[in-house]
């Protein structure tokens, strides 16, 4: 595959991530903040997010395993995860958190546990998608190319 093909593949893949709702405009915002002086900005922020989300998901699992669930605590974890997923544009994770908070408000343990599974799933999905995207970027850069600018493409 030549650089041109790699770049086209990157564009198509990125478009699909937006179309399928995995990412929203906030991710695009992060991409715009990346430049030659900060070439790894997006990867760095995303890595921080997944470290943080893993911690929060573990905390949530523990909290929902308690004989008496502390819904305020659960809600505060979900609120944090909702905030950080929103900040990186991980739209499906964010939406799953919004649903999760509703069940917290209702103090519905089963509903919360189902939501936790949903959030874990969305988190894993977007993690895999982004890892694939970053791998493509590495290949483009290694082949001497540059990562396309979505804005310039007019997406």
């Amino acid at each position: 595959m030549d650089v041109g093909q790699m770049r086209r593949q990157w564009v198509e893949y990125t478009k699909s991530l937006f179309m399928e709702g995995f990412l929203d405009s906030q991710f695009e915002q992060l991409q715009q903040l990346q430049d030659e002086s900060n070439p790894d900005f997006v990867v760095e922020v995303v890595s921080l997010f997944f470290e943080d989300s893993e911690r929060l998901l573990n905390d949530l699992t523990r909290a929902l395993d308690q004989p008496s669930v502390d819904f305020k605590l659960v809600d505060s974890y979900v609120h944090q995860l909702k905030g950080s997923s929103s900040s990186i544009g991980a739209s499906r994770v964010k939406n799953a958190c919004i649903a999760f908070r509703n069940f917290c408000e209702e103090q519905n343990v089963e509903g919360c546990r189902r939501c936790l599974q949903q959030v874990k799933q969305e988190n894993l999905l977007v993690k895999n998608k982004l890892e694939t995207l970053f791998r493509m970027e590495q290949q483009i850069v290694a082949a001497g190319g540059s990562i396309p600018n979505m804005e310039q493409i007019g997406f």
Binding site: Q26, Q29, L30, Q32, L33, S37, N38, F41, E44, V45, L48, F49, D52, H79, Q80, K82, G83, S84, S86, S87, I88, G89, E151
Partner: protein, 245 residues
Amino acid sequence: MARNGFTSRRRRSEKIDAFDLTPPDHSQEVHVLAVDDSIIDRKVIERLLRISCCKVTAVDSGRRALQFLGLDDEKSSSVDFDTLKVDLIITDYCMPGMTGYELLKKIKESSTFKEIPVVIMSSENIMARIDRCLEEGAEDFIVKPVKLADVQRIKDYMARETKPGNDQESGINKRKLRDSFDMSSVSPPSISPSSSSSSPSSPLSSPSSPTPSSRSTLPSSLSAPSSPTNSLDSPITRLKMTNTD
């Protein structure tokens, strides 16, 4: 790389100053103190501010912010304000321990720091929360996630206020802004059009000085690409847009 950009800017502004064509470019960078308990948000706001040519100090709590300013109870305020030079404080609202609102109050209570503009960020767009912050003296309220256009908007009016000779005007603007919101907070829950800053009952209406409502008509940024909806993103500009329409 950044230093070169600085030098050329300084040289250019010195030439232009002689002809007085553009406002002098203060070579000192604006220094922003950013407060957020989320490491992700801290990284993003730091980058947003740096790319907008601000110096940034990012801390993870209200307590640490007060420590940085020398305002916490443990240390005596032996900090030399001139060398510290914080031009803006931007803080998250929801934080464990001290909320952004509590931090805002502490700053406004301080004789040394009460003139520093404070901007609140929050993931929740709650009118009562926004009102409360503005009444306490917050300069602006940004709904998260924070975008480049938000940072450029607050930087624009910050630059205007920190220009020498503008202190009087900025004081009047702040008072006018508070007045217009005081009037509006009387009418629940939406802001009625009659509470605009150009209301005849306002003693401070002065058509010549930059009014708060003019903020909404200025482009949020002159250089960066901005979509038409950017100026509507701020809850405050949204309110003023309805007044000026």
